[in-house]
């Protein structure tokens, strides 16, 4: 069977009431890709992810997920999501860490069914993956922002999605844990064939784990292998972004494509 791209955007545009945010975006994400989505603040990264997730509809253009039009795509449990502002939830909410992570299985279990036989094991494994298993029975509101963020990552991992969409997931997580978090993503990507889309401003830290880069600023200015991105000139990048951006300088450790 020919491989269909997991995500395909065809000429997608989007505008909020009056502001044009995305113009003519065409992008394919293939199975196994580890894509870093880069762009300055307000460039439309979160908006693009929300369109992919079906939270908003494009003003024009088509989106296909796993080869199906996004608006008829039903198997949303194949897609895991960590939003940019996960900590915007009501912090007085009476829920344990375990309950929050288990809620990531809701779609996978399906309507009218109560739980999976190995649900508890899956939840604990996801918590171990993010190093939060010691907090399973704590109240979510009593954790620090970074700890909460790790719990939300576990919630996305628990359903073992084929595609993981992460919108600046490491904000608020300390340096050491960021490293082990990216190690974990790289491992899921390599050994479990989990496709990743990662929005980040911290290109240096992820540079030797990602396979592809897309540069977005209202439209896609570049999409390709990471090595090709590395060979772009600073002037080129500045022209796209309108200001200086940090570039990846990790040439020694690079994998060859």
């Amino acid at each position: 069977m020919a491989q269909v791209p997991l995500i395909e955007l065809k000429n997608v545009s989007f505008q909020y009431d009056y502001t044009q945010v995305l113009s003519n975006i065409s992008l394919k994400v293939e199975q196994g890709d580890f894509l870093a989505l880069l762009g300055p603040n307000g460039s439309g990264k979160s908006t693009m992810l929300k369109l992919i997730l079906g939270l908003m509809k494009p003003t024009s253009g088509q989106i296909e997920l796993f080869g199906q039009p996004a608006n008829t795509f039903k198997k949303r449990e194949l897609i895991g999501y960590v939003s940019q502002k996960s900590n915007s939830f009501n912090s007085g909410f009476p829920a344990t860490v375990k309950e929050v992570v288990a809620s990531g299985l809701t779609k996978k279990i399906g309507l009218f069914k109560r739980h999976l036989a190995d649900q508890n094991e899956k939840v604990m494994q996801a918590l171990r993956d993010v190093g939060m298993d010691g907090f399973a029975n704590r109240n979510i509101g009593e954790l620090s922002g970074g700890q909460q963020q790790r719990v939300f990552i576990a919630r996305a991992l628990v359903a073992e999605p084929k595609l993981l969409i992460l919108d600046e997931p490491t904000v608020g997580i300390d340096h050491e844990n960021v490293q082990s978090f990216y190690d974990m993503l790289a491992n899921l990507n390599e050994h479990h064939k989990m496709t990743m889309i990662l929005v980040t401003h911290d290109v240096d830290t992820v540079s030797n784990r990602i396979s592809h880069v897309a540069c977005l600023n209202q439209t896609i200015h570049f999409h390709g292998f990471k090595n090709d991105y590395d060979s772009l000139s600073d002037d080129q990048l500045n022209a796209w972004y309108g200001h200086a951006v940090r570039k990846i300088h990790h040439t020694k450790e690079e994998k060859t494509q």
Partner: protein
């Protein structure tokens, strides 16, 4: 007390309805409070009043309707109110709370018209406003049982979806859950619980039975299931103690139930403060 309950049907009706409501109102109340919809429960109860007042007026005016149980029109009014609120909330996306005063004043306004049209159902109306130990009929009890079964089935079937929806609305939508439908069902079920509870606690105090036990429980609960359990324990305690004291002191049960709920809340708040300062 026990022998009176065995003796008098009206007491059986009141206590059985009370025990059932003591479970379903706080059970649903937990979801209402964490989703910050407490005021909606208040608005809906006033819409229910419009249905009740309308029904009382109709049964006074048209002899053919004399035996119509006002609860039915009350249920119709509160369910329509819940659907309307949803409509309005979507219309005023950025001012969602605007739906509440619109619906609430609408409900009170219509009630006022019916009440002034019909002259003199003051005692009946009083029992609808503040609850009653003696006015609960077998038919009322039957309606309460049916509504309770619906509510419990709804929560049982949609527990995990309701949890996701309450905790993180955006995530629920991104997971492809039918958030809109579940939310609409939730609003309708809320309307039903309000109609069911009204006979015991009264329209003006219905929302308190959905919120006060929850306010106490979320002070001390670590998890969601625990919050539900504590809320039901507090709610049930308030209802039973409230009904007993209302019966002996000849008071409106709505009043006694709410006052006891507030006492429970105070005990929990103060108790937690003390427990924390002891630990510190």
């Amino acid at each position: 007390m026990i022998s009176s309950i065995l003796h008098y049907e009206f007491l059986q009706n009141a206590f059985l309805s009370g025990i059932i409501i003591g479970i379903i109102a706080p059970l649903l109340g937990v979801f209402i409070v964490v989703r910050r919809l407490s005021l909606i429960a208040d608005a809906l109860s006033h819409v229910t009043l419009a249905g009740i007042a309308g029904s009382l007026y109709l049964s006074q005016t048209f002899t053919g309707l004399a035996l119509l149980n006002p609860l039915y029109l009350g249920i119709v009014a509160s369910v329509s109110g819940s659907v309307l609120i949803e409509r309005l909330r979507r219309l005023y996306k950025h001012y969602e709370e605007l739906a509440i005063p619109i619906i609430m004043s609408g409900g009170i306004g219509i009630s006022a018209i019916f009440i002034s049209l019909a002259k003199g159902f003051s005692t009946d109306l009083f029992s609808y406003l503040f609850g009653s130990v003696s006015a609960v009929s077998r038919q009322d009890l039957f309606i309460v049982v049916v509504i309770a079964l619906l509510v419990i089935a709804f929560i049982y079937l949609f527990y995990k979806e309701l949890f996701v929806l309450s905790f993180d609305d955006e995530y629920a939508k991104a997971s492809g859950l039918p958030a809109k439908w579940i939310h609409l069902l939730f609003m309708i079920v809320t309307a039903l619980v309000i109609a069911a509870s009204m006979r015991i606690v009264g329209i003006l105090l219905v929302s308190s039975l959905m919120t006060l036990p929850v306010a106490a429980s979320i002070r001390i609960a670590k998890g969601f299931k625990q919050a539900i359990l504590y809320a039901i324990i507090f709610g049930e305690t308030a209802v039973i103690a409230g009904l007993v004291s209302a019966f002996y002191l000849d008071l409106a049960p709505g009043g006694t139930i709410v006052v006891i709920s507030i006492l429970i809340l105070l005990v929990v708040i103060v108790g937690k403060k003390i427990a924390m300062s002891v630990r510190a």
